[in-house]
């Protein structure tokens, strides 16, 4: 969950500014179901990827489940949506028409265009900086923000712990073999073991934090979360992508609100 040596331009922007930009884009894209606005936003996002230190390879590594999900979503929409226009393919129950293909394409592009900004945000934002911004700039309660941040660090530990508990339980005779029901039981037991360890770790961590004075009223911040000119550009960029997507779609006459 760290930036692993990513020094791209957008890593220096305030996480809150990035968050606002991403929010604007997602909001606008959630309003319409046409393919023009989605593809406009998508093209703009792909152009901006290098600024977040991302490459197509990295993108695929981090987001392949989302990309595949978007493709499957688009494909199923194309198959099952009501036909309109010329029918391109007809296999019994399933048929693909120009209209349903357009809908499916729009669906897929939209999924990607909404998901990518979030991935972009996560790739160029350090969780600690995000927490600083949320607490200092967005004025969210610091107990909540820092508590979540500390808990997130434990999530990584839990992955290791899961493997160890799995082995430790096998050494007690709880097998991962057998019928599906037995396996389910074994997995539930292992999850319980993990839960116990997670609670233990969390309570020890809570003691550590409390013993370091956490939870009081007044608090200072060693890292000041600041805005710079770059953040203005980030927000302007967000507005431009969101606005550009709407205007292009309106110009092309494809804009249609989801509720209509």
């Amino acid at each position: 969950m760290n930036l692993r040596g990513n020094h791209a331009l957008l890593t220096r922007a305030n996480p809150l500014a990035k968050f606002v930009a991403v929010f604007l884009i997602s909001l606008v894209l959630a309003l319409s179901i046409d393919w023009v606005s989605a593809s406009t936003a998508l093209v703009a996002e792909l152009v901006l990827f290098p600024l977040a230190g991302l490459t197509i390879r990295l993108l695929w590594q981090r987001a392949w489940p989302l990309i595949i999900a978007a493709a499957i979503g688009g494909w199923s929409t194309a198959i099952v949506a009501a036909d309109s226009g010329a029918v391109l393919l007809d296999v019994g129950l399933w048929s693909i028409s120009e209209g349903s293909l357009q809908l499916g394409l729009g669906f897929m592009l939209r999924g990607l265009a909404i998901a990518l900004p979030a991935i972009l945000l996560m790739s160029c934002t350090d969780p600690t900086d995000l927490a600083d911004a949320l607490a200092q700039k967005a004025k969210l309660p610091h107990r909540f923000v820092l508590g979540s941040l500390a808990a997130m660090r434990l999530v990584g530990l839990m992955a290791e712990e899961w493997q160890t508990i799995g082995m430790a339980r096998r050494a007690r005779g709880v097998g991962s073999q057998g019928s599906p029901i037995q396996r389910l039981k074994a997995t539930l037991g292992q999850s319980f073991g993990l839960l116990v360890q997670a609670v233990r770790r969390a309570s020890r961590l809570a003691v550590t934090m409390e013993a370091r004075g956490f939870g009081g009223g007044q608090r200072t911040w060693a890292r000041e979360s600041t805005y710079s000119l770059l953040d203005v550009w980030v927000v302007v960029g967000g507005v431009a992508i969101a606005g550009g997507a709407v205007l292009t779609a309106l110009g092309a006459g494809t804009w249609s609100f989801v509720w209509r």
Partner: protein
């Protein structure tokens, strides 16, 4: 230049008068009737058997014990500088045993700053304190790792994590430093790292120290007073009803005058190795039970890339070793040499990356040659593995169920449980929840549960970490009995005295990066 600590740290005084504490949901108090006065700047080593309430006392001093609303009970008074510790944030700093939970944030500098931030120290001063604290604990010297402020905390060793925690404590400028078994989870090098860092910081700040630790020799020269507590939670035990403090005085005096008493209480008195049962049949039957041939081991699974399978980078490779009936095999080596990974692979819990583990005819008994392919119930009646953390292996909510679990699955061996309960002193605990036991009790239980399935090979990962001398001696004697009875014992350990009791052979794993591998020395232990 940052200001020095010495000008700003005011050492804390501790007064306990008839103090006691009962945790919510417990019938008996963890500690009771404690009368104790610790002067500012004193350095106290707190000793006592498991269950004497040492951790409870430290938590109370740190002001992190319970709330008014839960149903725990406090008796008498416990004061720091004449005031209840609960309201004094930052007056005391506490370090606990598990290094993973002593780190709060993901970057070294941020983690050290965390406490000072919570105390509302101005930003500029926080950073000067952070720099100073990191220097003081020796994390910035080349030998200590030369860590930058941005260094990820996840990449630190156990000893480094504990020193980082100490830095975080120092940055708060506390008058009282509380260490709760700070080195119990560390290897010998890590133990010294942490001990020396604590010593330097105390010399500089003059803060009061209270440390809880079984291993007296580590702390003896650093403290100027030893306090021994009575067990408080066991109502029927020898200490029931007596005042909390058993002994109190300068280290040498306490250690000479009360040597026998401390030994009886399970304290690791310097220069004393607890008496253990001698091995009588060193040689064993010599039957080959398990063999590792050119083994490469890793916790990682192979990755798939397209149609190719990429094996993980091994933690250790080219290991060749044999496990024979009635023989002990001790696995030693520096941190990161893949000792535990090797033991887990040998025990059929991890798949070998390369090479093979094969079971002898006497062990496999028709189950096939590869332990990793055995079904769980086939495995437990052949190879028993005791993990470093006993809680990882608890699968039920009651000590007795825990012990019966293996035999029930196998359909035999339930009669053996009574004997194990008796032998490992678990009789008074059979109805308790395993998670509520003390560290020593958990260790004994985890060994008993694995042995209930009557395996021919027993594999133990650091079985003596953090154990008091009594548990240690019991465990070592018990294993020596098992060895004489023909069980093979494989243990991963840094504990030379422990491997000396078990005898047998030592397998030393070298650092894997140097390409140097391993050799098995006959009779080295």
């Amino acid at each position: 230049m940052p200001a020095t600590h010495s000008g700003t740290v005011r050492p804390a005084a501790i007064t306990a008068e008839g103090w006691g504490w009962r945790h919510a949901g417990r019938a008996q108090p963890a500690i009771q009737g404690l009368d104790l006065r610790i002067e500012p700047g004193e350095r106290v080593l707190l000793l006592g058997p498991s269950g004497a309430g040492k951790s409870t006392l430290l938590h109370a001093l740190a002001g992190v014990l319970g709330d008014e609303e839960d149903d725990s009970d406090e008796t008498g008074s416990l004061l720091v500088d004449g005031v209840s510790p609960r309201g004094q944030r930052g007056r005391a700093g506490l370090m606990q045993q598990d290094p993973e939970t002593q780190v709060v944030l993901s970057r070294v500098g941020d983690d050290v700053a965390f406490g000072a931030e919570n105390l509302a120290v101005p930003r500029d001063e926080i950073w000067s304190r952070v720099h100073e604290a990191l220097d003081d604990v020796g994390l910035r010297t080349a030998a200590g790792g030369g860590l930058a402020l941005e260094h990820p905390t996840a990449a630190l060793s156990g000893g480094q994590k504990q020193r980082l925690a100490l830095a975080g404590i120092l940055a708060m400028r506390p008058g009282l430093i509380l260490l709760d078994e700070p080195t119990a989870n560390l290897d010998p090098a890590g133990v010294l790292e942490v001990r020396d860092a604590v010593g330097r910081c105390l010399d500089k700040t003059g803060a009061t120290l209270v440390v809880v630790e079984h291993r007296v020799s580590v702390w003896k020269d650093l403290v100027d007073r030893i306090v021994v507590l009575q067990p408080g939670s066991i109502a029927t035990g020898p200490g029931a009803g007596t005042p909390g403090v058993l002994l109190d005085g300068p280290p040498d005096q306490v250690l000479t005058e009360a040597r026998d008493m401390l030994v009886a209480a399970g304290v690791w008195v310097p220069g004393y190795v607890p008496a253990t049962r001698e091995r009588v049949r060193e040689a064993g039957t010599n039957e080959l039970l398990l063999a590792a041939q050119d083994l490469a081991v890793s916790r990682e699974k192979p990755r798939r890339k397209g149609f190719r399978t990429i094996p993980p980078v091994p933690a250790q490779k080219d290991i060749t070793a044999q496990v024979r009936a009635g023989m002990a095999l001790t696995v030693t080596g520096p941190n990161g040499a893949g000792k535990s990974t090797f033991a887990l692979t040998l025990a059929g819990l991890l798949a070998p990356v390369d090479g093979a583990v094969s079971a002898g005819v006497g062990l496999s008994e028709g189950a096939g040659i590869d332990p990793y392919k055995w079904k769980a119930d086939q495995l437990i009646s052949r190879i028993g593995t005791v993990f470093q953390e006993p809680e990882h292996q608890f699968v039920t909510g009651k000590v007795l169920d825990e012990l019966m679990f293996g035999p029930k699955h196998l359909g035999h061996g339930e009669e053996r449980v009574d004997e194990l309960v008796e032998r490992l002193r678990l009789s008074h605990l059979v109805d308790a929840n395993p998670y509520t036991l003390s560290g020593g009790e958990k260790r004994r239980l985890s060994v008993a549960t694995v042995l209930a399935a009557h395996p021919k090979v027993l594999v133990l990962d650091e079985p003596t970490f953090g154990q008091d001398a009594n548990t240690w001696a019991e465990l070592a004697s018990f294993l020596s009995e098992l060895l004489d009875a023909g069980t093979a014992v494989v243990s991963v350990t840094h504990d030379q005295e422990f491997s000396a009791v078990l005898g047998g052979t030592e397998l030393r794993l070298g650092p894997v990066s140097q390409g140097e591998t391993t050799h098995q020395e006959a009779g080295a232990a």
